[in-house]
């Protein structure tokens, strides 16, 4: 068997390829992590990233998100605040009318969060820039903050998962608030989630 010159180059390229760089960015889609009910095929997150992320959470943890009307009927005043932010009255970080919110309440989020993280990063890494991710094995808590630049605006996606509840918030922010987010990603991420979900006590 002859090994040609070009064959050797191809072999060398395969061995010297940038695998370590790819590994840090998460697994490719076809190798996404298995959930409790088997393999989860993460949807690509290009067209509607917010819905895709909600679907990834639902598939991985076998949970269902609650719509805002349902929460309002259940006596939770979350909808009031969300509506206010949409109208701009209570906004601080999010730009008026830009808030997308999905809430998961009183459901079980037990599972291998490192696998979930890999699935999420794989689904979002082409169109979003990961900014900060915090994980706690002790509390089974996860927070992910992703950023996307759409022309002259920035979109922030904040995913917060705890043992029994989770939220997904997507908002547009101004350059001024981008500066605040970059300075303090963790604190600003919490503020974005609180703005969208805090129960109005008034």
């Amino acid at each position: 068997m002859k090994i040609t010159f070009f064959g050797a180059i191809i072999l060398a390229a395969i061995f010297a390829g940038p695998t370590s760089i790819r590994a840090s960015e998460g697994l490719p889609l076809h190798r996404c992590a298995p959930g409790r009910e088997g393999v989860v095929f993460s949807p690509t997150a290009r067209n509607d990233d917010f819905k895709s992320v909600v679907k990834i959470i639902e598939d991985f943890y076998s949970v269902k998100h609650l719509g805002i009307p349902f929460l309002a009927k259940a006596g939770i005043k979350l909808a009031t605040t969300a509506a206010r932010i949409k109208g701009g009255e209570a906004k601080r970080i999010a730009q008026a009318g830009s808030v997308k919110l999905a809430v998961f309440e009183n459901q079980d989020f037990a599972g291998d969060f490192t696998k979930f993280r890999a699935s999420l990063n794989a689904a979002l890494n082409t169109s979003w820039m990961p900014l900060m991710q915090t994980l706690s094995a002790t509390n089974q808590a996860q927070t992910y903050i992703f950023l996307r630049n759409d022309g002259d605006k920035f979109t922030v996606l904040v995913i917060n998962i705890e043992q029994r509840e989770a939220t997904v918030v997507q908002v547009n922010i101004s350059p001024q608030n981008l500066a605040i987010l970059l300075r303090d990603p963790e604190g600003t991420g919490k503020t974005i989630t609180e703005e969208a979900t805090i129960v109005d006590q008034e």
Partner: protein, 192 residues
């Protein structure tokens, strides 16, 4: 008569080795260090923080931010930088990470391109190491490795950076408080 090996394999093998060597050299001079080897620690850590501000975001932010107020301060800090990468693990018990975990980072910092700064002190307990990558006479990257019994932190900043700027960045842009103590100016006796 030349053997089969000599005739058919020697030249392609040499070319392949040349390519592999060139690839390794390029990687060795990359101021971005690979931190993925530490990812498995997240499953043991009571708290994991993973910050990744890449060149795309740096460029976009520098373009979008204005020269007023908070935006000016952030813009000044990030201008010229090509990336900020942080991994911080806090553990509830001792011995949750191994020497091999640390070695996976130190190995990358032992290449000739990196120089360890010996005169940097931190208020934090444990081992504290600061490395600079020099490209010519310019700093092209910085790495900080802090490890104690219950905490492991790696900070990697890509781009022109110095200790003064690093001190300004502490507590911002996802960089934890590293407790770097400002270097004392030398006394006349020390200078002698």
């Amino acid at each position: 008569m030349k053997s089969f090996f000599q005739r058919n394999i020697r030249m392609p093998l040499f070319a392949a080795l040349l390519i592999i060597t060139a690839t390794c050299v390029v990687r060795a001079q990359d101021p971005r260090i690979q931190l993925a080897s530490l990812d498995h620690l997240a499953a043991k850590a009571s708290q994991t923080v993973d910050v990744s501000i890449d060149e795309r975001l740096m460029k976009i932010a520098a373009t979008m931010l204005s020269d007023d107020g908070d935006e000016k301060a952030v813009k000044k800090l990030i201008t010229g930088l090509k990336g900020i990468y942080v991994k911080n693990f806090e553990f509830e018990a001792d011995g949750q990470y191994t020497a091999a975990d640390l070695e996976s980072i130190r190995t990358q910092l032992r290449t000739p391109a990196w120089t360890r700064m010996v005169n940097v002190n931190s208020r934090k307990e444990g081992a504290f190491e600061v490395y600079l990558m020099l490209t010519g006479e310019k700093v092209s990257g910085l790495a900080v490795l802090h490890s104690d019994a219950k905490e492991l932190t790696v900070v990697n900043i890509v781009g022109p950076i110095n200790l003064e700027k690093l001190t300004q960045l502490e507590g911002q842009l996802g960089i934890p408080d590293l407790g770097i103590e400002p270097q004392k100016p030398k006394t006349k006796n020390e200078e002698k």
